[in-house]
Amino acid sequence: MNTTLSWIKAYVPDLDVTAQEFTDAMTLSGTKVEGYTAADRDLDNIVIGQIEKIEPHPDADKLIICQVNIGDKVIQIVTGAPNVKEGDKVPVVLDGGKVAGGHDGKMTPGGIPIHKGKLRGVESDGMMCSIEELGSSRELYPEAPEYGIYLFPEDAKVGADAIEALGLRDVNFEFEITSNRVDCFSVIGIAREAAATFRKPFHPPVVTETGNQERAEDYVKVTVKDPDLCPRYCARIVKNIKLAPSPKWMQRRLAAAGIRPINNIVDITNYVMEEYGQPMHAYDYDQIAGHEIIVRRAEEGESFVTLDGQERSLDENVLMICDGEKSVGIAGIMGGENSMITDDVKTMLFEAACFDGTNIRLSAKRIGLRTDASGKFEKGLDPNNAKAAIDRACQLVEELGAGEVVGGMVDVYTKVKEPVEIPFEPDKINALLGTSLSEQEILDYLRLVDLEYDADRRVVTAPTFRQDLFRTADLAEEAARFFGYDNIPVTLPSGEATAGKLPFEMRVREMAEDCAEFCGFSQGMMYSFESPKVFDKLLIPEDSSLRRTVKIANPLGEDFSIMRTTPLNGMLTSLAFNYSHRNKDVRLYELGNIYLPKQLPLTELPEERMQFTLGMYGQGDFFDLKGVLEEFLDKLGMTGRRTYDPDSSHPYFHPGRQADLYYENCRLGYLGEVHPLVADAYGIGDRAYVAVLDLPEVTRFATFDRKYTGIARYPAVTRDISMVVPKEVTAGRIEDMILQRGGKILESCTLFDIYEGAQIQEGFKSMAYSLVFRAKDRTLEEADITSAMKKIWNGLESMKIEIRS
């Protein structure tokens, strides 16, 4: 919503504030000013001058020399403008002044300084200006010539301030109006707030009775077939229309609001729409068949040509204004070409109606036509405002001499909107705000915005234009706004103390962050939605359950259309971004959800599972990544049995370099080297590794409790064992065997050498483990060790392993 200070002042004449003061105070009382621009910010030292004499330039065919009277003296100006003649009154920027732009309409922020100088050898003491140089346009000043100097009317005062005369000594405010304050989408609404904010008297327009002795009822009959969608329809008639330009003051106000002046009738409807927030429409009465208006829904598939000449296709949810034979307008959105006002209009029908906001919003969306009018209607207007607005428009018609207003109004108003009454409970207001305002004080604030108080019944009545007031809490806000939010005291909640806490699963996540970072991984953030194409990129088979995704009905595009079921694409995309930017040795991790539908189509919320994903390329390999998982599980007190199952067969991983991680027979996640085809698809030209842990599963086993177990008091005995192993036998199986056979006294078993190649037979590998034996309660004897080692040997030999020592 944009409005000028001068228009606001028309209703609050005592308002005497700077633009900044206005901005600050209005913002603090709830009408937020987003910003303002002074129309004259780049204009300086421009007066009205009259050309007394024009002579040709001796050295330039296209230039002329003008003697210009600027009130106190006559100055000489050289110009190339084609449109001036002796006697013309023109804007003249004097030496040292400023204009806003060039005559091509291009603005120069800060303005263009003008100095006296010579043009082809002839002194020029200033410059005559076009409307574009004054920072405006012919759109807004239609009387300005297409090319050349702006010409003032004959009665303009020579020597006077030209900026003022053009109405440019004004400030245009941009307001952010919240959706609950429909009344403030109008100049009157804003002016009412300004009057209340600055505690100045508010003078809304005084609308007097208009019209001749005839009756509008005799001209037109109105039937509303769908009162739910059209609570009120007001119609008035204007005859003997004299189309002409509207007066300058009206043109200026419309121009400042960004509305192009057209003619008196169109300008009046636009003016009242700005002033009252009520859109209106004017129909050519002689084109209304049967002189009858019927408000009804469109027929399914009906097509209709709006006044912009476009053919629109409609459905039965769209409300139409029709005459006895045909549709003449789309209600609240745009009138029809068939009934629009043309230059030879004689009689017109003025419409001010109230339509259901939601219906207008949805219709405008469906038709794909959002207009100033529909923008206002969709907020849900006050039906009582329709009559006020149409009467105001007729008053302006009479004032401007634009036509003869027919007496009376046809008003179809089925469900009259009554004002809301709210019990006045000052104690509750104070209790909610934490204030101790007196009853009188609160009432004073409420009256500032036209709320009435009935002392006998102790009720406050909200005018119908205030569609946001229903309860005590709403009155509390009104009181607080004018008392000032900044005057409300500052306290802390009293009452029962509560313990602050971080839930367990979030502590597990913090541990994941700490572990990953200590291992060199930096945290990334990935999108939750992605393209359905990622499954092909990840070589995931057609029948995989990962392809069962939650789909967004209205995505930003196909690339963001499904909720991810795997964190792999996000991680690989980020690694690829780094790779393509030549970042070396990149390690990233992410904590983010995947979304697994329980059924499709979705009838209940999908399962959201937090995934801890690690990805890397460059320095480090599979076992570095595996190490991070091990550290993490250690930190979570998960010291039980972990196994890595190489038969995991994830298609996006190297077939021989991947595993599922199990803990106590529960699958926690998976890791592997990214399949070269997948790496290639993402554009990662290096071996990359990814691990994923399902945190809800991990959290089941995690604990931050620790118990001290005592430091061993008896000596340990170490035995090394070296062996030749068939290649397919994994370290995991060997360790399982050693641990199982070693018994209670086996404290640890650590691989310290592994070798394949020369001296080892093809298909075999040499491995060496260091075993540590220890008893808690005694010093071990040689016999204990020998017996344990024998069992281990036997066990290993049963796996076709040859013991070397």
Binding site: G434, S528, L605
Partner: protein, 339 residues
């Protein structure tokens, strides 16, 4: 004999004084105290001393020996120290050579900001809670006083899964879920990811993060809301931070406010961060709307409460002077390692 002894002592001490190496020291020790040394030789000539003088002479020899040994030991220590000093002198390091550092990763700026906000509120007795990112329309809108066809639904540019399920557009549905559980009083914050249908650019992202706060108890006032958020702002942005509460509108609070903090870059004088105004908008808040209480099964006659919502990216971007939101999702290691 005694003169001889005296001469040996003088000679020994003289030589020790001049000794300049441990080798030389050893030579001296051997030549005076060794098996074939001068003092040993003197002892061997004891027979030449009168028997009655022998004990006294023996004592004298032993004390001389002790004196020489003592000086010898001192000299040895000195020489050893000098040798060590000499060795250390050769081991000088160029301490300005680069450090050897373990590769340590970095936390995402968004997480740092979130954890800081969480820490502040946990300290004030708030519990951290979470809710689903894919949410029922009922919680995201309906129970927050945003009925079907409310224009706010359009304004928020909601991603729909179907007519009942949406990607949550705010963390506020967690409010409704917590209130419905009915455990009072309530003091929670709910951080999390939210979604709106905005194209990606320098200042917009279709997914971002909020932190919601909710306090419900008897006698909670707007003044308490002001106090709480002022304290929060001071802890997050510094002790001298001022706050400004401006009336605003949210469907689920009444009265409602937007909160500005004095610009923490310029202290309120006006700079490019606050676009010259001296203030930066950081959050929206208000008193829980009585109708929201009713829909969540809490009696608004008995209980009042306040709620607030902070945009996490807004705080992270401002605090770390990040000028493009896209950086947050690109995960460029050159960006991440600055935090």
């Amino acid at each position: 004999m005694e003169e001889k002894l005296q001469a040996i002592k003088t000679e020994a001490l003289e030589q020790l004084k001049k000794a300049d190496s441990l080798d030389r020291l050893n030579e001296i020790r051997v030549s005076f105290l060794g098996k074939k040394g001068q003092l040993t030789a003197l002892l061997k000539s004891m027979k030449e001393v009168a028997p009655e003088d022998r004990p006294a002479f023996g004592q004298l020899v032993n004390s001389t020996r002790a004196q020489i040994e003592e000086v010898l030991e001192e000299t040895k220590k000195k020489l050893e120290r000098a040798a060590l000093d000499e060795k250390l002198k050769k081991e000088v390091l160029d301490v300005t050579l680069p450090a050897k550092r373990s590769l340590i990763g970095h936390r995402h700026p968004n997480t740092i900001a979130r954890e800081e906000v969480e820490r502040i509120f946990i300290g004030m007795g708030y519990e951290v809670v979470e809710g689903p990112e894919i949410e029922y329309d009922l919680y995201n809108f309906e129970k927050l006083n945003i009925p079907a066809n409310h224009p706010a639904k359009d304004e928020q540019d909601t991603f729909y899964i179907n007519k009942d399920i949406v990607l949550r557009t705010q963390t506020s549905p967690v409010q409704a879920r917590i209130m419905e559980q009915g455990k009072l009083p309530i003091r929670v914050i709910a951080p999390g990811r939210v979604f709106r249908s905005d194209e990606v650019d320098a200042t917009h992202s279709p997914s971002f993060h909020q932190i919601e706060g909710l306090v419900v108890d008897k006698n909670i006032t707007f003044a308490d809301l002001k106090g709480t958020l002022e304290q929060f702002a001071r802890e997050l942005f510094g002790e001298n931070t001022r706050t400004k509460f401006r009336p605003h509108h949210f469907p689920f609070t009444e009265p409602s406010a937007e909160v500005d903090v004095s610009c923490f870059k310029c202290g309120g004088k006006g700079c490019r961060f606050c676009k010259g105004s001296g203030w930066i908008e950081i959050l929206g808040c208000g008193m829980v709307h009585p109708h929201v209480f009713e829909m969540c099964g809490i009696d608004p006659k008995e209980y009042t409460g306040f709620a607030f919502g902070v945009g996490l990216e807004r705080i992270a971007l401002l605090k770390y002077e990040i000028d493009d939101m896209r950086l947050l999702y690109e995960n460029d290691s050159r960006f991440l390692k600055q935090f």
